[in-house]
Symmetry: C2
Subunit: 202 residues, 2 copies
Amino acid sequence: MEKKELEALAEAVLGQILVPLEASGRHVHLTKAQAMALFGHDLTPERPLSQPGQYLCRERVTVAGPKGELKNVAVLGPERPEGQVEISLTDGKVLGIQPPVRQSGDVKGTPGCILAGEKGKITLECGVLAAKRHIHLAPEDGRRFGVRDGQRVRLQTYTERPVVFEDVTVRISPKFAAAVHLDYDEANACGFRKGDWGRILS
Amino acid sequence: MEKKELEALAEAVLGQILVPLEASGRHVHLTKAQAMALFGHDLTPERPLSQPGQYLCRERVTVAGPKGELKNVAVLGPERPEGQVEISLTDGKVLGIQPPVRQSGDVKGTPGCILAGEKGKITLECGVLAAKRHIHLAPEDGRRFGVRDGQRVRLQTYTERPVVFEDVTVRISPKFAAAVHLDYDEANACGFRKGDWGRILS
């Protein structure tokens, strides 16, 4: 076998027992109306993300809080029913906003911020959060790993600074591809590098 | 018993089985000559740190790398035989320097940077590192926890985002007070708040 084939085989075998780790940078989800207010047009897909149907957009925003701002923040598509700003606790220090650690979509009572695009500015009344670490799995992955949707598991990282993350939420959907989502604080804390893997412990 | 007495008692009891967590912000250690070049005088103690004899200085420096700089960085005293800049991997992105994860003092072959103080600028040929997470213990703590100097243990955090840090180095000296030292990436990854504790797992 050639080296490339061997690597593909190794990855397929590893994927049976391990889950690829991914670091989610700070990013924003927008409604159709918010995208229109910020950019004057709908979101433009730039490249697909690991989760089927999700994409990075060509558009960028500035996120502003009482203490500072983060420029050039990624916007992910498609549009959602509610705007949401996912940042790390470190980013929160820069903005002067303390984001609660929440599941994506659980924006009720979270702090707000100001978003600026090339065509306009909007105020989000709420929606700033630090995404709770989670594992995306397709139903067949869930069966193989013996875990169910919503279950909280421990995850061992095979990284330079190995860590067991406790209280990692499993999310199972036919729309998902297997991937652990960490934020950059977590990714740096475990010394994550692209291509690293994790193991579900229970 | 009054509330204060109860709290002190609880802390004393917890300290028998747990170790207090501390987040180390980015900071710099300097030689006497470097302090002189940067400030025109010796380091001035401002307040003591948890480790006996160590102190935060009144002086501050700017740390500069090829991509950016960090202003108002803490200087810790007393002076050391070698200069050293301890930053997080997140800070490294800002500076454009990739710090290796090392024990404090193990500066050989690490990247350098530029330091600026109110009186001058110096170039460090090496010394930029991300401090490997570690536990300071006094000898009696080491006996109580059944660990020896240099041992690598696992550490469970009792924090908002609980984590088991693997490969945490135990450092034992009569000069030490019991404390786990995490950098800010690690502290944020586990949702550390002042007063949180960890448990040595072995």
